[in-house]
Amino acid sequence: MNAGSMYGWLDWQSVMPLFIVAGTAVVILLADLVMRKANGFVPLALGFTGLIAAAVVAGRSYGLARDAFDGGFILGGFAVVLQEIVLVSAVFSIALFQAARRPERMGGIVALVLWATSGAMLMAGAANLMTVFLGLELLSLALYCLCALAERPTSRESGLKYLILSSTASGFLLFGMAMLFGATGSVTLAALATPAATATPLYWLGGGLFLIGLAFKLSLVPFHVWSPDVYEGAPLPITAYMSVVTKAGTLAVFARFAYAASAGGAAPALLMPLFVIAGISMIAGNLGMLAQTDMKRLLAYSGIAQIGYVVAALAGGSALGVRYAIYYLVAYMLMNLGAFAVVAICSPTNAEEGARIESFHGLAGRRPLLAAAMTFFLLALAGFPPTAGFLGKILILSTNVSAGYAWLAALLIAGTAISLYAYFKVIRLMYDRHVKAYHGEFARLPLAYLTVAICAVLIVVMTFYPLTPSNVLPVVK
């Protein structure tokens, strides 16, 4: 505890971004009550304001080391960057909601998204097992409701599936936490670093269960089966949101766990299975993409592989690895949200329905710019220049090679080679003159167009000005 001691046990500054986001959600619900006529615009505007305010406030803590809840929550460097990623993803995702349709539901939706966001923000800075679980459940509970929101049977199925499978994973996580507590006698992640603790079988069992829980939330193969189904059924903006935010939040926890445990010396052996399944995810996720006919499922499988790349960056436990993982995560956020924004615009009826690949047939002839943007995002996901996906892959490859994980680098290349076919299948459909053009309508989503433009520009800028944040070790103390 440092500057915050004058407030007693809670450093208000460190949790202020969290409170802003959660508080905005309450304000939105109240505003919904007060307003006489349902209006989709007000909740969206309030949501944007809250998220951006939180981003600004959180940004001021970069370079500091604040903590709250007796060291259970740490804000600074790493946590700030992860919180910004989560907040920006939330902004871009709710921009995809079509305000004009069913305006009476917008208040609830935006409020739930904000609560989910505050959960992910809590995970970004969580330094003990209690806050980890609190953040994870806050995120998950809000997402169960959001997944089931669309008026289709698949949406309810999606929500239910997510609820059941995710709860099981939470069970693993919680059981693992209990064992870790038994082994170390403390709920803090810092305690994991004490060498005495690592000697017990309880530590290994608990750590293993804990990592299985995380692997599920990251949807790494073989714990990935839920994600394509859930992504397909959920409303499109929620799919976009989940594809980045749950992964960013969980990745923050994983990085903190990995770097805390590393200090104890036991980490490489404990973490090795996770790097192995990250490698498997790169292959299996990309293979899974090949057979898909739904864009959301395709992007779900793509996300499985992409997060495998991010996890691979952490192998070796170097400080540079964290920076490159964050770099690639930001790149992934921009490519993925950009692609989802295009999908939202091109979805047959509107942004809340499914998104068949057919709706991209002959897109280049009807909307050349939109097709060009989609091509750009898919090329970025495939790792083509001049995009951040290209440079991110170079950075990850080089950390893997220098840390002695050349096999992960080889798997990354093999996985990417497979993914080329899947990404280019969509690109070819958009440009192929033999394919009969699909005549669906386009959603009127001005904010989505803005998202597409911002993401595309940032992806190029990131390539030539690769700012990898320094000072971002996921500290536990």
């Binding site: 540079l320 050349p368 090329l379 790792g383 083509f384 220049p385 001049p386 290209f390 892959k393 170079i394 950075l395 490859l397 080089s398 950390t399 090679v401 220098s402 680098a409 080889a410 290349i413 990417t416 080679a417 080329l420 076919y421 280019f424 690109i427 070819r428 440009y431 192929d432 003159r433 033999h434 030539f464 690769p466 990898t468």
Partner: protein, 463 residues
């Protein structure tokens, strides 16, 4: 200036998409003007127009570094010339889109040839593979061809990426092209293998060539004239600027694999070219054969042979671009490329026949044209280093080359005339203008090869 050479075609190519889709005039004029500017700019401005900006400082230093001097200068003006001719020869459905793709191809390849940084090289390497894919999607007849092109070339590109990352980690910097510093260590041969596979796919080299015949046959002539003539040289150029200065040891270690692959390409390409009936495929396989000779020259690591290789790179680019453009003209006139159905075109198209004859004679290595100089110098160099049998075997396909080139000439332009020809007109002046510079350059370099040999001696010295 080097940045301008890269960005000008790319920006112009993107801007062309704003022109109406049906346009034929504006896009071609723009394309020609841009290509002409990129041709004259490096010649008129003194100095090598270096552009350098810091890019990465960790995990290895990398710079956005391009420079247009020595060998790169020759390839740049060669590329600009071929682009000029290809744009001029473009007259097809969706001319605007094709010209835009040609300009994008030119800009991205400029980035490859002028790169002074391995990472920048890899960046533009991947980029230059994209326009031909779109050409195959937009104009190609067979869906499979585009996939085969894509999977072969982009997998090569990914290996290049991995090799670049490993190279950077080992050397500490990728901003090294133009210097020479042998990479040592147990990993060096494997890093070289990553580069070499990417280069061998692009060249192509047996047995990684199977994407090539279908792609060359299926891509529209304007695009393929650049791909076969200049883009295929990117791989050979890679051996010269990355292989020799950094991996001479690994190249020595694995030279027999490449020398044998080169010889097999030489013989196999020539043999298949004799048997094919599709005119474009004949030229495609002849390309495989000719480039095998260059690979042989590079891996002999003899300074004279490497000089010859560079001359032959330029010569092959000129005659292969001319051959593909002229076969494109034949196809628009006759609606077929099959030797079984063509015949007697020379009678009504004397200028077309004349142009083809010059290009074909250069391809079969007639003295006085550029192809001969390259072959002679290569064989002399290879022989000098004691590779007696490879040099002897390499002589055989040169005889084959006369056979298949003369067969092309005979079957398309001589012999009995076909009745019911769809269209009869000789070369228009625009079509003629599109191949004239290439043919003129073949003659000039055949008579005065010293200009190119002098540029190539710089590489010899850099080793």
């Amino acid at each position: 200036m080097s940045l301008l050479l890269i960005l000008l075609p790319i920006v112009a190519g993107c801007a062309l998409f704003l022109v109406p889709r049906t346009d034929r005039i504006v896009s071609r004029v723009t394309g020609c003007v841009i290509a002409a500017i990129t041709f004259f700019l490096p010649l008129l401005l003194r100095g090598d127009g270096t552009f350098a900006a810091r890019w990465l400082s960790r995990p290895f230093t990398a710079a956005l570094h391009w420079s247009c001097g020595g060998m790169a200068l020759w390839l740049v003006i060669l590329l600009a010339l071929c682009t000029f001719c290809a744009v001029l020869a473009t007259d097809m459905a969706q001319t605007r889109t094709m010209v835009a793709l040609l300009l994008l191809l030119e800009g991205t390849m400029m980035g490859v040839f002028m790169a002074r940084d391995v990472l920048a090289f890899a960046l533009f390497w991947d980029l230059m593979l994209i326009p031909p894919f779109f050409a195959l999607v937009g104009w190609g007849g067979h869906r499979e061809t585009a996939w085969r092109y894509l999977l072969y070339n982009f997998s090569g590109g990914l290996l290049l990426l991995l090799a670049t990352a490993a190279f950077g980690v080992l050397q500490g910097s990728t901003d090294v092209i133009g210097t020479a510093h042998q990479v040592s260590g147990a990993w060096a041969p494997w890093i070289f293998a990553g580069f070499a596979i990417a280069f061998a796919v692009k060249t192509p080299l047996f047995p990684l060539h199977t994407w090539m015949p279908a792609t060359y046959a299926d891509t529209p002539p304007a695009m393929i004239s650049i791909v076969s003539s200049v883009q295929s040289k990117a791989g050979l150029f890679g051996f010269l600027i990355i292989g020799l200065p950094f991996f001479a040891g690994a190249m020595e270690q694995w030279k027999w694999i490449f020398i044998i692959a080169g010889l097999v390409s030489l013989l196999y390409g020539a043999y298949i070219a004799l048997a094919q009936t599709d005119a474009k495929r004949i030229v495609a396989y002849s390309s495989l054969s000719h480039l095998g000779l260059i690979v042989l020259a590079i891996f002999s690591q003899n300074p004279i042979a490497i000089r010859g290789a560079f001359v032959y790179i330029v010569a092959h680019a000129l005659f292969s671009a001319a051959l593909f453009l002229i076969l494109g003209y034949v196809e628009t006139r006759e609606d077929t490329r099959s030797l079984a159905r063509l015949g007697g075109l020379g009678k009504v198209n004397p200028k077309l026949a004349g142009a083809f004859t010059i290009a074909a004679l250069a391809a079969l290595g007639l003295p006085g044209l550029a192809g001969f100089v390259g072959e002679l110098v290569i064989l002399a160099g290879v022989f000098q280093n004691g590779y007696f049998w490879p040099a002897l075997i390499a002589l055989v396909p040169i005889v084959f080359a006369s056979a298949y080139m003369l067969r092309l000439l005979q079957d398309i332009f001589n012999g009995p005339e076909r009745t019911n020809l769809p269209q009869r007109r000789d070369l228009t002046w625009v079509e003629g203008l599109a191949v004239a510079p290439l043919l003129a350059a073949l003659v000039v370099l055949g008579v005065y090869p010293h200009a190119v040999l002098a540029a190539a001696s710089v590489i010899g010295g850099a080793r």
